[in-house]
Symmetry: C2
Subunit: 447 residues, 2 copies
């Protein structure tokens, strides 16, 4: 088995976890990464982008024996702290069960930890600042550039964990007719921009630490996730055009008037708003789907490379880490018959990747259009009570987030049916007179 | 107005009709085409690929005053001649109205006629063997290669009618995040291969001339369209894999046994089967959708470049020619405010392009899975009777094919509702005892 050499392109979260697991299995692993080695210093690692790590991601980390180490870098978030315009903030828990929460983790912090773990293996080699420029899919050969020179490498297989702009996926796409390569990219008319709340003078958190904060405003919003250093990373989700559009809010005056009107309770926490707003770029929010994920039993893509999704279910990273767990499980079943492993993996995984992509899009529209609907609020209330009272009941959110062994597609199907039933029951005027057990019985009948 | 220079990339059917119409409006038109000038000779123009030209395409040709000339190159096809395995051939008409038929036309023949028409205008210039390699979308500038040299040109606007592999669309795609460019490509697991029936010794047609012939076989089939020279172009639509797969039928022996079993009545007409089958390539069948179709008010794509579809509704070319008619109509409304014209055009057209793409896919599955269903056969029978008796009734097929001013999306919506109602009525055992007027009344109520 040691004779198999796995080339991994991309040392992000998915690629490094894969490197660790493949090293544990005894393979020779070579990782190519375009960016410099993070261990040589990352700008502002503590304060930049953070992500919600939840049960699926944790289960994958556990497989590699590194869950505990990572959890130490996390801040639990027990619910959404909603800051309604003109109202008092209130906490909406993620689950009726106290043990079900999600974790705020710094992306660069987590990535660094995974690189450090992976690099401890003798059979893992990292090549940083090495940009893969060409891929020979049939032969698992790559060309990469390092310091202006071009080099080559050849593996038994090559696995692309190189994100939404994947070069491996683009190579597959250049063989469209040969591979019958299906592909779609879909962008929301919303983008995002990062801002921040600085730590308090004593190094503490200026607002509730253990929550994901939301300042909702109908079709646009700002969210905040806590960082270990006392800061919060804010993300503005706004349309590009229109009154709240990034393209419209293009002067300090307009921005000030806008925030005074729509984010008055947030404004005091961000005195440095103007510098950050005009310095930070606007990111796009897109969904990428494709099929197949493998070519010739020699090349495979996973993570964002094969299924980039929008962030509204907090599952992008978790889905990518889960890919590694399922890939590992498939390898366990089929050994190093790579063509078999690759095709079984993609066929196990494709529907689940589609499901979480669709759920994330649904959530965008749900957050935008229904967060204030009476029936939706009532539903959430009943869901909490049900989760507190019945150990066998999980809301759609909980099925997706806290049931890590349930495939996304099944979570989606069951969760959607539950939602339908609950929304229908909650639209009745006597919804709160229906005994909880009746809700429970009807929900249990859903397969 | 004459000062506006329109660069058209691609001298196919859509590009040349656009050139003619833009020339008629007085614009300066420059057309770049990768292939050689067809007037210098096209191999086998009379016998290669043919297409079904119907009312939408004809209406667009009429706008440019060239419908009559083109119709002279056409052979009417009044219905589908079905050749069931083990049964007698029978004709299934396209419409209950005698005046509604479709036309078999040679693609190169039609293209040649359009190039000749366009080249008669002083204000149209063709550049053949000129491959556009780069597009500056913001400035409507192109680079092209001719005889190994690279040249440049700049227009007021550039319009890409360069087909499914469009370089203009690829330029838009390379600006994905700036344009929020949505894109999808979807391939069927079926491909196609062309064969032919040669003319009779007297130059006539060996099988019924005025029909589109089909040899159905469940999940695979062969169709035939007549050519002016007495030949027929056959198209095999088969899966790539499995018993009937192109990849499986890879020896003369297997092919012979397969045709003897599944196409026994066709076999005598194709003694040269083996040469053609093993010489001709297998084509893929894909749907391409994207949005936006325009960039910066300077660049636009139309035809297959923006919406390539599968051939199962016979509407690919008709939709592309219709693009030109709708573009012309939009230009009439908004003058040379190009940004306005481009955005209005794409927004008028996008839903209709999606609709015919989806209808074509539906038809693939309908032909594959339901052509022998009792309810479907009954429905077709009732539809014919209704069309014969009621001038205001059009079946879904007729709405799409013979109502050229009805947008595809409306045809789809209305047609699908009609289908649903008819299938439901036809699934009743007394379906043929229901007076035709009852069907008609219920169908009329559909909006």
């Amino acid at each position: 088995m040691q004779k198999n050499k796995i080339i991994i392109v991309g040392a992000g979260l998915c690629g490094t976890l894969l490197a660790i697991r493949m090293a544990q299995r005894g393979f020779q692993v070579v990782v190519y990464e375009r960016r410099p080695d993070m261990r040589k210093g990352v700008e502002d690692a503590g304060r930049s982008i953070n992500l919600a790590l939840s049960a699926r991601g944790l289960l994958a980390l556990e497989m590699a024996g590194i869950k505990k180490a990572i959890l130490e870098e996390c801040i639990p978030m027990r619910g959404r702290m909603i800051h309604p315009l003109g109202g008092q903030p209130f906490l909406s828990k993620y689950s009726g069960r106290a043990e079900d929460y999600i974790n705020s983790v710094s992306r660069p912090g987590l990535n660094l930890a995974l690189i450090e773990q992976a690099d401890q293996f003798d059979n893992v080699t990292f090549h940083f600042e090495s940009k893969v420029t060409k891929v020979d899919l049939e032969n698992a050969k790559i060309s990469y550039q390092l310091n202006g020179e071009t080099y080559q490498d050849e593996g038994t297989v090559v696995i692309g964990t190189d994100g939404a702009g994947s070069i491996i996926r683009r190579s597959m796409m250049s063989q469209t007719t040969k591979l019958l390569f299906n592909y779609s990219q879909d962008f929301l008319r919303h983008g995002y921009k990062e801002l921040s709340i600085l730590p308090a003078n004593d190094g503490g958190w200026k607002i509730e630490k253990e929550a994901l904060h939301i300042w909702p405003n109908g079709s646009f919003m700002i969210i905040a996730l806590p960082n270990l250093d006392g800061s919060f990373t804010l993300t503005m989700f706004h349309p590009f055009e229109g009154e709240a559009g990034f393209n419209t809010l293009d002067t300090k005056e307009k921005l000030k008037a806008f925030f005074e009107q729509y984010y008055p309770t947030l404004l005091p926490y961000i005195p440095h708003l103007y510098e950050e707003y005009f310095e930070n770029p606007v990111g796009t929010l897109g969904t990428i789907k494709c099929y197949p994920w493998q070519a010739y039993g020699k090349a495979l893509i996973m993570g964002d490379a094969s299924h980039a999704i929008v962030p509204f279910y907090g599952q992008g990273m978790n889905a990518s880490l889960e890919d590694v767990r399922i890939f590992d499980e498939t390898l366990e079943e089929h050994g190093t018959n790579w063509e078999k492993v690759f095709t079984v993996f993609q066929d196990k995984r494709k529907d689940n990747a589609d499901a979480i992509a669709d759920l994330a899009i649904d959530n965008f529209y749900e957050m935008r259009d229904h967060v204030d609907d009476l029936a939706f609020k009532r539903k959430r209330q009943i869901e909490m009570q049900l989760e507190q009272q019945f150990p066998d009941y999980y809301s759609k959110y909980s099925l997706v987030t806290f049931q890590p062994k349930l495939p996304y597609q099944q979570a989606m199907r069951k969760g959607r049916k539950q939602d339908e039933l609950l929304l229908q029951m909650c639209s009745q005027s006597d919804f709160d007179k229906i005994p909880l057990e009746n809700y429970h019985q009807q929900l249990l009948a859903i397969k």
